[in-house]
């Protein structure tokens, strides 16, 4: 099988899966088997490309010419490879979890849910493998639209309002900033392809570069840079598997992934390093890190706290990319992976708690660790990873980002990172502490419950273990990230 | 001299403005159509008048004449008149139907009726 065919298959498999899932809407078991098989196939396809990319190849395929000179083109490079691996790998786990969650909570419209999920994964793979800005933008918008039914899954007035915010912010930013930025890039440079070293160098003035960068980072609303972060907490009305995979992994990572990709392949790290007109970005992202952390600290709703934590963590990636040092860019790429694993674990745990105990607030969690030891242990692992404590993977990415900040002499950024670490600890550790060391209040004593259904527990244990494992076996992501900046 | 020499244009302009004014200022649907007719008539004049050559005769070839008026504007305007008649007939037919449906041919009254929110189905009550 040629690499080009593999790429196309990786796009087609989830779509075919979606059709089959829709066809099997009368037989839940068949439907969910198809979901799992599709997820597995997708991961195998994506993984089969990895050796090629590691060997330095950049398989590519051009699908069709959309407009003269502008094609729908896919090209696998290290960053996309890393993102694709994470998204497709976690989809398997997430499918397992979804089956448990959707059945246990007796949700409506399950077929639609699985169909949209498969569609979302197809879009994510499209984003990961996009060979030019146009393709990226197309799948970026497709991802927004296909996740809209997932966000509004409940169909209630609240879901409808959340859907408005979700769509308004994501479509609004992408249409008003992202699209003009792409067209502008096309106009000045004559190409929208991702090329090592960027395409804008020497084509646009410093001022124009600064404006373009602003259009890109704010236009990519999925990166949730303040003030365009409101959609992410709003999207938390969705069922937890959606929050877990999409709003901790696929969608938000698609955002920061696009930012990193654009900084690396459109602007060029070395090409814009030291430019006055682009040095505002660390401040915006630093502000987002701190501000979102404070909001997270003050949120009692668990999913909301996780959402704001995500907003904050996403800006780590943006900040790391904005520092424009090779080490920090490696950190940015790694953080996409490590945060994904950590945050999906946390969301899985939140969903398990909701399913088993019907609790949504942090303050209700006293003593829950005794009844749900697996869940809360996994939660603790995820929390440690986000804080950046060693045997969890989060440490590695944070290490690289901080080294990058030190290397570039960005001491303010360093300070932000340290402060944020403290914040992370402040809003995660009390939960872990309460869960294991406090006595449950009387109300929760009243109705007994154990762990969530086994598929959910299995899934979250799996991701928690992966978080630890990634710390010890970080070769693959590290290699990919190093290739990104050309440091082998 | 110049003013008088262009008198056909003055009449054209006068007719056009009169017609347009009636269309805009009158609320009666039939009067509007009358205005529209006057407006269109001004165009006929605009075409026909310059086609006439002083001393020219009807453009039917005959040995005793050498100077003919331009026949083309007449042909054009014959077409335009037919179009105008068709428009007028259609407009009047619509007014008849409007009168049957609303019981009025005054624009303000009809708009008032539309605001009431009652919209009877007209297909059943009309012959053709």
């Amino acid at each position: 099988m040629t690499p080009a065919l593999t790429i196309l298959l990786a796009l087609a498999v989830p779509l075919i899966g979606a059709v089959l899932i829709a066809a099997a809407h009368r037989a839940p078991n068949v439907r969910e088997t198809i979901t799992l098989v599709t997820a597995g196939l997708l991961f195998l396809l994506v993984a089969s490309l990895t050796p090629l990319v590691l060997a330095g190849e950049r398989p590519e395929v051009t699908l069709l010419e959309m407009m003269p000179g502008l094609s729908l083109k896919f090209k696998v490079e290290p960053l996309g490879m890393l993102f694709g691996l994470i998204a497709s790998g976690l989809w398997i786990v997430n499918s397992l979890y979804s089956i448990g969650y959707m059945r246990a909570n007796d949700e409506q419209h399950q077929t639609r849910f699985y169909v949209c999920f498969a569609g979302a994964l197809a879009s994510t793979v499209g984003i990961a493998f996009a060979g030019n800005l146009l393709t990226l933008f197309m799948f970026y918008e497709a991802l927004t639209l296909v996740t809209y039914p997932l966000v509004t899954h409940a169909g209630t007035g609240e879901a409808k309002r959340a859907g408005r915010v979700y769509l308004g912010v994501l479509v609004g930013t992408s249409m008003v900033f992202f699209l003009p930025a792409i067209i502008w890039t096309w106009q000045v440079s004559g190409t929208v392809e991702f090329r090592p070293g960027g395409v804008l160098h020497g084509k646009a003035g410093n001022m124009a570069l600064g404006i373009l960068l602003a259009l890109y980072v704010f236009g990519i609303g999925k990166a949730a840079l303040m003030p365009f972060h409101r959609w992410l907490p709003a999207a938390m009305v969705a069922p937890t598997p959606v929050s877990a995979l999409l709003h901790a992994v696929a969608v938000v990572k698609a955002g920061v992934f696009s930012v990193v990709k654009i900084v690396v392949y459109i602007f060029g790290v070395n090409e814009i390093a030291g430019l006055k007109s682009v040095d505002w970005l660390p401040f915006v992202s630093g502000f987002t890190i701190i501000a979102a952390s404070i909001v997270a600290l003050r949120s009692d709703n668990l999913k909301r706290r996780l959402a704001y934590s995500t907003v904050s963590q996403l800006s780590y990636v943006v900040l790391a990319a904005a520092l424009l040092t090779p080490l920090s860019v490696i950190g940015a790429a790694l953080h996409i992976a490590t945060h994904a694993l950590g945050k999906i674990t946390l969301f899985f745990a939140a969903g398990a708690i909701y399913t088993a105990a019907h609790k949504t607030e942090v303050s209700q969690l006293a003593g829950i660790g005794r009844r749900m030891p697996w869940t809360m242990s996994a939660f603790a692992v995820g929390a440690l990873s986000l804080i950046g404590v060693p045997p969890a993977a989060g440490f590695i990415s944070k290490w690289f980002i901080m080294s990058g900040a030190a290397e570039g002499g960005h001491f303010l950024a360093l300070a932000v990172l340290i402060a944020s670490t403290l914040f992370n600890a402040a809003y995660f550790l009390p939960i872990v502490y309460m869960a294991f060391f406090c006595k449950p209040d009387e109300e929760s004593m009243a109705h007994a419950h154990g762990e969530a259904p086994w598929p959910m527990v299995a899934a979250l244990v799996l991701t928690a273990s992966a978080t630890i494992a990634l710390f010890f076996f970080s070769d693959l992501p590290l290699q990919l990230a190093r290739q990104l900046v050309g440091r082998l | 001299m110049n003013l008088a020499g262009h008198f056909s244009y003055w009449i054209t302009i006068l007719l056009a403005i009169t017609g347009l004014y009636i269309v805009i200022a009158r609320g009666n649907l039939i009067k509007k159509l009358v205005g529209l007719g006057i407006f269109q008539t001004s165009v006929y004049l605009l075409y026909i008048a310059p086609g006439k050559l002083i001393g020219g005769t009807a453009p039917i070839i005959d040995g005793q004449f050498t100077l003919y008026s331009n026949p083309l504007p007449h042909v054009l305007i014959l077409t335009a008149i037919v179009v105008g008649v068709a428009t007028l007939a259609l407009g009047l037919a619509l007014v008849v139907r409007i009168r049957e449906a609303y019981g009025s041919i005054e624009e303000d009254e009809i708009l008032e009726l539309d605001k009431t929110g009652v919209f009877p189905d007209t297909t059943t009550s009309k012959p053709a």
């Binding site: 069709l64 010419e65 959309m66 407009m67 003269p68 729908l72 146009l134 933008f137 197309m138 918008e141 497709a142 639209l145 509004t152 169909g155 409808k160 769509l167 308004g168 479509v171 609004g172 249409m175 008003v176 699209l179 003009p180 067209i183 096309w186 106009q187 | 056009a16 347009l20 269309v23 649907l29 509007k32 159509l33 529209l36 407006f39 269109q40 165009v43 605009l46 075409y47 310059p50 054009l76 077409t79 335009a80 179009v83 068709a86 428009t87 259609l90 407009g91 619509l94 007014v95 139907r97 409007i98 609303y102 539309d114 919209f119 009877p120 189905d121 007209t122 297909t123 059943t124 053709a128």
Partner: protein, 493 residues
């Protein structure tokens, strides 16, 4: 041999079919004839398009009187594109119309409907094909008169008033046009467009010629519903029978745009209109006003047909915006949007017609939760709406890309911003439909509805599919539009 007569057959076939339908007197037979004629027309137009693709110009002398004395039909890359568009829409709509007309009109009017439809089609094709300014007026009136009647066939009594208003406005527009042509005729002594262009070159700053330009611009802008002259359009589209709305929305205004282009670029010449006069700025301002104000009005409509009618006014603003840039890219954007918007709006109005078939009307208050019972219709409207918004993968995106590109090329970044901002307004009104159709519980009346028949759904979905096909692979449409733009910019030889 017959192929050399295609330019005239294109127009004459529906013109001959119309009286035949009166003689046939049977709705079904008339429909069959209309199908045959419109599909033949599509074939002819495609063949014409292929003939002129290399940049050649077909000149056909009616009655063998050579131009400039006789009436000339003149097909180049610009109007071949228009002929193809009009024939395509007609061919699709005529299939769709049978079920829709059967439900919305009394049986004894069916054959008259197809007669008028054919006449309207002949008029629109004639406008596109002819190379004679006065002949254009005649066809303009043929299409207009038949469309007034078609609109008046609407079920609601307000259709009568809408038709009347359109008649008054349309007649004023056509009369303005004919005044302009009259002035040009007085100055040049010719009605043949190519000849006129030839004689006007270098003397376009003479006052009667400028006055003629003003009259023609206002007259045609009335017909194409450019923003402050659009007042007839929303009611006309809202109360006309569904098939009529779909057909007119997709073709009538587009053909008027073509007339404007023909006069600006081919007859007056680009420099006379855009360099010597501030026509670009005027068009720009009016287009921007259309894009924002009409979209904003659309958001607050209670009736879906009116909503999309106002959206049409806004979308026409995009077309004229492209023209106002006075650049190859801008013109390409305008022409490609003309095509794209025809596809999108045609599809949308056809799908709305499916609702009308089942409900009798399409107010927001009537369609709560209708997606449950009419999923294909509802989803089609959502997809069409995405194209209006300009989501990548749809034709709307292609148009937007070129419009923004043209704005950036002209160095006016704030126009680019205006284009993308106004497309957000489309998100709002499309999502009003989504929330009404998908987020409400259907009441008892809705719950017992059935999905629209296939003979309506299939044509509508064909158009939706075309919206996506030409959105993903736009090289065909872009090439066509770019060539048409190049032809226009180089003027008539």
């Amino acid at each position: 041999m017959i192929a050399q007569h295609f330019p005239v057959l294109q127009v004459v076939l529906p013109l001959i079919a119309a009286p035949l339908m009166i003689l046939l007197r049977r709705g079904t037979l008339a429909w069959l004839l209309a199908v045959i004629v419109s599909w033949t027309g599509l074939f002819i137009s495609l063949s014409l398009l292929a003939q002129v693709a290399d940049g050649s110009v077909i000149s056909y002398a009616i009655g063998s009187w050579p131009p400039p004395w006789g009436i000339e039909y003149r097909i180049d890359r610009v109007n071949a594109l228009l002929l193809m568009l009009v024939s395509l829409i007609a061919a699709v709509v005529v299939i769709y119309s049978r079920a829709s007309v059967a439900a919305e009109l009394p049986a004894h009017q069916h054959y008259l409907f197809y007669t008028l439809f054919s006449l309207c089609l002949a008029g629109l094709l004639g406008i596109s094909a002819t190379g004679d300014a006065f002949n254009l007026f005649v066809f303009l009136e043929i299409s207009s008169l038949s469309s007034y009647v078609l609109i008046a066939l609407g079920r609601d009594r307000r259709a009568l008033m809408a038709s009347y208003q359109y008649l008054v406005m349309g007649t004023i527009g056509a009369t303005f046009y004919i005044i302009g042509v009259g002035l040009l005729y007085l100055m040049t002594g010719t009605l043949n467009m190519a000849d006129m262009a030839h004689r006007l070159s270098g003397v376009t700053e003479v006052r009667p010629v400028l006055a003629a330009l003003a009259f023609i611009t206002v007259g045609i802008c009335l017909k194409l519903a450019l923003f402050p002259l659009h007042l007839w359009l929303p009611n006309a589209y809202a109360y006309a029978p569904s098939a009529v709305t779909a057909f007119l929305a997709a073709t009538a205004t587009k053909v008027s745009v073509y007339v404007l282009l023909r006069f600006y670029y081919s007859i007056y010449g680009e420099s006379a209109v855009f360099s010597a006069l501030p026509m670009g700025k005027i068009l720009l301002l009016l287009s921007l006003a259309a894009m924002f104000i009409a979209s904003a009005i659309a958001i607050f409509q209670a009736d879906l047909k009116r909503l999309f009618a106002y959206s049409s006014v806004a979308q026409i603003g995009y077309i004229t915006l492209g023209i106002s840039f006075d650049s190859a890219t801008g013109l390409t954007a305008g022409i490609v949007h003309l095509f794209n918007h025809a596809l999108t709006k045609g599809a949308l109005f056809m799908l709305l017609g499916c609702f009308v078939l089942r409900l009798g009307r399409v107010r927001f208050s009537d369609i709560g939760g209708i997606a449950r019972v009419m999923p294909f219709t509802s989803f089609g409207i959502v997809l069409g709406g995405l194209s209006l918004i300009g989501v990548p993968g749809t034709v709307g995106f292609i148009s937007k890309w070129y419009l923004v590109l043209a704005a950036l090329e002209s160095g006016q970044w704030w126009i680019a911003l205006a284009i993308v901002l106004s497309s957000l307004l489309a998100v709002v009104y499309v999502w009003r439909f989504v929330e009404a159709a998908y987020f409400q519980e259907p009441d008892a009346g809705i719950a017992q509805l059935k999905e629209a028949p296939l003979e309506m759904l299939v044509p509508a979905w064909l158009m939706i599919a075309a919206c996506f096909y030409f959105g993903l692979d736009a090289s065909l449409t872009i090439d066509g539009a770019a060539q048409a733009a190049a032809t226009l910019l180089q003027g008539l030889q």
